[in-house]
């Protein structure tokens, strides 16, 4: 009972009209709970896709981009001449990165680099009985690769060390293995685009949970793939790099591209579609939440304006009794702030319950994602932002009516 007088008057007003108070509160409650549910789900989705993407893609990938057109020799020799040249074909060029091992060793010394894996990869046909599938075979140093992508944790059958002990072994993606109907210990035939055929033994099966990888990729030893392709021991096509801080990827990629003369692609460029998705989801979350809060704000504005019209006599007598304009303003601002505070507390609770509910919604990720339910993120930050919005909106909405009440001339009211 030791509340300041103006706050006590405000709270008594609210208690005297419980239904009106409740309706104004529910507006805020609804806005805040939707905000929390949406932002939790959207951030959950964003985080999930980011984790998935980052789990399988390098921060920077250095490779020899053969698809970039090169000027023909005739253009170099006679730049100003009129040329008649029919059906020129691109020069046959190997995807080899020269000095790949040396580049990888230099990169490993860089303190910003977490791990480097030099690879040789090739397209391949997998044959097992009647089934024939197109895919990728990647020759890796499996221990290096594990440092980047944690293959050890993704193994469903077998161990990654098995790859080291058998020279002609292969670790298959779960989707690829399922489609080929192979199990650990089976022997499959792999054909390269050049027509070389080799028999490999399946020594393990891994599952990242991302169909894009599991359905096509198989790991083998570097020497195995080099042998398949008929290349020497220095033939490497890819250097994949993980950084400690992946926001440095763009600038590092640019400087490495200049330094080594090969294409260096950062993860943001490689995954630009996914990043666009994140942006769109964020825009959606904010626009829906802000719309709901604006609607709640109008509700509070209306109810406060009505309350003030009903309380004109009270305002007049309070002013006659010595309440200043500021005191009266405070009374009505307290009312809308209390509405906002109680409403957003309710919104936090409902928003949390709604998020819990969303986290139960079953979701079939199919072959592409290993997901059972919607990924919902629970983060105290959303709730703090929620209550801030729940206080700012009614403060803005209630301010104009409160100022009006504060500026009311008691004589005008008393004369009537």
């Amino acid at each position: 009972m030791k509340l300041p007088l103006s706050i006590q008057i405000a709270l008594t007003h609210l208690k005297a009209k419980p239904r009106q108070t409740l309706i104004a509160m529910l507006g805020v409650t609804f806005g805040i709970s939707m905000y929390i549910a949406m932002v939790s789900l959207m951030t959950g989705l964003n985080d999930f896709t980011e984790q998935m993407t980052m789990a399988i893609s390098p921060d920077i990938r250095i490779y020899n981009d053969k698809t970039e057109p090169e000027p023909g020799i005739i253009d170099e020799l006679f730049p100003d001449a009129i040329k008649l040249l029919h059906h020129p074909r691109p020069k046959a060029e190997s995807p080899r990165i020269r000095n790949a091992k040396q580049i990888a060793d230099i990169l490993r010394q860089d303190p910003r680099v977490k791990g480097v894996s030099a690879q040789v990869s090739s397209q391949a046909f997998y044959n097992y009985g009647p089934t024939q599938l197109n895919g990728n075979i990647v020759g890796v140093d499996v221990l290096e690769e594990d440092k980047l992508y944690h293959i050890r944790d993704q193994m469903k059958e077998g161990k990654i060390e098995d790859l080291l002990s058998f020279p002609d072994a292969v670790i298959m993606g779960a989707g690829l293995a399922r489609k080929l109907q192979v199990k650990k210990g089976d022997r499959i035939t792999v054909t390269t685009p050049e027509g070389v055929t080799i028999t490999l033994k399946v020594c393990g099966i891994y599952k990242t949970g991302i169909g894009l990888v599991d359905n096509v990729r198989a790991y083998a030893n570097i020497s195995t793939v080099q042998k398949m392709l008929g290349k020497d021991a220095s033939f490497l096509t890819d250097i994949q790099v993980k950084l400690w801080n992946n926001t440095e990827a763009i600038s590092l990629a640019q400087s490495w591209e200049r330094l080594y003369g090969y294409t260096a692609e950062d993860w943001q460029t490689a995954n630009s579609t996914y990043l666009t998705g994140v942006k769109i989801r964020n825009v959606m979350t904010w626009s829906v939440s802000i719309t709901l809060l604006i609607v709640a704000g109008f509700g509070i504005y209306n109810i406060m304006s009505m309350t003030i019209m009903n309380k004109m006599k009270d305002i007049a007598i309070l002013k006659a009794m010595g309440f200043s304009d500021g005191d009266v303003l405070r009374i009505f601002l307290t009312e809308s702030l209390s509405l906002g505070f109680l409403g957003s507390l309710g919104g936090l609770v409902f928003g949390f319950l709604l998020s819990l509910l969303l986290a139960q919604v079953p979701l079939d990720g199919g072959d592409f994602f290993s997901l059972d339910t919607l990924p919902v993120k629970f983060d105290i930050q959303f709730y703090i932002t929620g209550i801030l919005f729940g206080l700012i909106t009614p403060a803005l909405a209630g301010y104009l009516p409160a100022v009006k009440a504060g500026n009311m001339d008691p004589i005008e009211i008393l004369r009537n």
Binding site: M1, K2, L5, I9, T12, H13, K15, A16, K313, D314, A316, I317, L318, K319, A320, M321, G322, F323, S324, D325, G326, D327, P410, I411, L414, R415
Partner: protein
């Protein structure tokens, strides 16, 4: 006497809209402590306007006004509000009690606004005022549950809460039946005679005016007598 509780000199006020109109012209008035004064006159003669100026609610005038030795011209709105809280009590035609509050809470508002006394002291003072007005048994009721006569008495009790120098009445009996007007009039007389309160009331009720110590009649913005 040479020490009036209220003195107004050369008060002029002009209504600017719809067209300039001199509603008060050169009003000089001084009122002694313990005086029961009534302001009478026809509708539109400016008596209410004068009362709002004397009670500091209206600060848009020229001239000088002193109450209880304080010069009130050139005070800010907030200073005037604090001054009213301490020195002036109001009784209007309608009771203007806050309907959501009990009688006791209504009485406590001006004293809590002043913020000098403790809650216990304010409560016991409020009980004293209610006893004085014979409605102590209604203290815990919601003010909206009382009869019109009782509500007006609560309003008077509220006006007395901070022991003001002057009580301003704007048609204080205008909305009451003859029995209750008689009661209110009796209370006012007692307050002035016994307690030494000063009372200024605007009224249409000639019987009420005749019972006062001094009648000031106004016409066309001027004091007649």
């Amino acid at each position: 006497m040479n020490n009036p509780v209220l003195s107004a000199q050369g008060i002029n006020k002009v209504f600017k809209s719809p067209e300039p109109f001199a509603v008060l012209q050169d009003i000089n008035l001084s009122i002694q402590k313990g005086e029961f004064l009534t302001l009478i006159g026809k509708s539109g003669c400016g008596k209410s306007t004068l009362m709002y100026i004397l009670s500091t609610l209206d600060s848009d005038y020229s001239g000088s006004l002193q109450i209880a030795g304080t010069d009130l011209k050139n005070k800010t709105k907030n200073q005037l509000a604090a001054f009213r809280n301490k020195h002036i009590g109001f009784v209007f035609q309608f009771h203007y009690l806050l309907p959501e509050f009990t009688v006791m809470e209504n009485l406590m508002i001006p004293a809590r606004k002043m913020g000098v006394l403790s809650t216990e002291e304010i409560e016991s003072r409020a009980m004293d005022k209610l006893t004085l007005l014979g409605i102590a048994d209604q203290a815990r009721k919601l003010s909206s549950r009382l009869s019109g006569g009782q509500q007006q008495r609560v309003a008077i009790a509220r006006a007395l809460m901070n022991d003001p120098d002057i009580i301003m009445g704007d048609e204080p009996t205008g909305n009451l039946d003859s029995y209750n007007s008689g009661l209110v009039l009796e209370m006012f007389r007692e307050l002035t005679r016994v307690k030494g309160q000063t009372l200024i009331a605007v009224t249409h009720d000639l019987d009420f005016a005749k019972a006062s110590d001094r009648i000031v009649e106004m016409q066309d913005g001027k004091i007649l007598s």
